[in-house]
């Protein structure tokens, strides 16, 4: 091994540790290695007890998100060569409970995702029969929300959000961005159902537009923009309600 780099890894074993600790490992430094390669090397060659999640290795599955030198990153896209300090600290995603080592508990995010109903909803009598054909959509209608469809549920945005870190009741960036994705879809009629969660006490109004969720997003989904746009729509609802004196649509 000619050149090596030190990885300082967050270790936590719920069966024996009250507090987590950091353990250092020397791994070979290779130009084409990403942090995930180095972690895989540790698992295969140095310490088989290390736990972490990963799958596709190509920035698609969203499983390998971790804090790399304090920044939420997909470790399959974070190259060792970009960390010149000679030491890389790897921790589990900030803001989530740690199950073991680098594995975070995702339940909270999954529950929130479920709550915003991230799928096309139709009114009671709005469903088309199969023989009536598809719900047509123009490229211009698609362009309005396409960006928000690119979310891979990697949760980096939650890790970058100080609001979520301070109050985990906050629905959070990815779930709101996905709700907005369906709200803006011309085929969808479920906005009213999602509003309860989105415009509720723990929804969009908790966001103070820090903007870091969009900075760390590996797919340029821009959840911060989605949240602000949802705020504009909710504000319009409020004023429409005043003008129409709260009469039902």
């Amino acid at each position: 091994m000619s050149e090596s780099i030190e990885l300082e890894i967050f270790r936590y074993c719920p069966e024996k540790d009250a507090e987590p600790l950091f353990k250092s490992y020397q791994v070979p430094f290779r130009e084409d290695w990403v942090v995930l390669d180095a972690i895989n090397y540790i698992k295969d060659e140095l310490d088989g007890t290390l736990s972490y999640r990963w799958s596709c290795r190509m920035g698609v599955c969203g499983s390998c998100g971790m804090m790399v030198n304090g920044e939420p990153k997909l470790t399959c896209s974070a190259f060792l060569r970009d960390y010149s300090s000679g030491k890389i600290r790897v921790e589990p995603l900030q803001g989530f409970p740690v199950l073991r080592d680098l594995v975070s508990q995702m339940d909270d995010f999954i529950n929130k995702l479920t709550k915003v109903k991230p799928y096309i909803l139709r009114n009671e009598n709005g469903e088309k029969q199969v023989e009536e054909g598809e719900y047509l959509q123009s490229p211009a209608q698609l362009a309005k929300y396409k960006q928000y469809t690119l979310c891979i549920n990697c949760m980096l945005c939650y890790s970058a959000c100080p609001i979520y870190a301070l109050d985990s009741e906050f629905v959070g960036p990815a779930a709101i961005a996905l709700a907005q994705r369906y709200n803006m879809d011309s085929r969808d009629q479920g906005r009213k159902q999602r509003q309860e969660v989105i415009a509720g006490h723990e929804g969009i109004w908790q966001c103070t537009f820090v903007g870091e969720c969009s900075v760390v997003c590996p797919k340029n989904v821009d959840p911060a923009a989605a949240i602000q746009r949802a705020k504009v729509s909710s504000t319009m609802d409020f004023f429409k309600g005043i003008i129409t004196l709260g009469s039902k649509e």
Partner: protein, 127 residues
């Protein structure tokens, strides 16, 4: 299942440049609100009597007042500029499939700002 929650320190906003500038942006709202209160006081003094208004004008010319105004101006400018720069994220407009570039939205806001400022200056000095 036993889990470990990594604690959030009270100094979280000092750990990242972007968090720090976010907190500064939020804090500048106090200066905006403070100056609004001052303007209300200013109007009430003007309505009170000619003497009260003149006394206020004299006190505004003091070095302390000028220094305070400069400090308020700096923070209010920071507030306005950071929010103007964020506007393209909120105002997303499309022409057909094409999104109007963020820069164009931001520039239009600045032009609007300049226009309103010129109108106010014209009312004060030229009207």
């Amino acid at each position: 299942m036993k889990t470990y929650q990594i604690p959030v320190s009270n100094t979280w906003w000092l750990k990242k440049k972007s968090y720090f500038f976010f907190v500064i942006r939020e804090m500048t709202s106090l200066f905006v609100a403070g100056y609004c209160l001052f303007l209300l006081v200013f109007i009430s003094k003007a309505a009170e009597s000619q003497q009260a208004y003149t006394e206020l004008l004299v006190s505004l010319k003091s070095p302390v007042s000028i220094l305070l105004h400069l400090i308020f101006l700096a923070f209010i400018l920071y507030h306005a500029i950071t929010w103007f720069n964020l506007t393209p994220k909120i105002m997303v407009l499309h022409i057909g499939e094409e999104k109007i570039p963020d820069g164009l939205i931001a520039v239009s806001i600045y032009i609007g700002w300049l226009a309103v400022s010129l109108i106010i200056l014209w009312i004060i000095f030229g009207g």
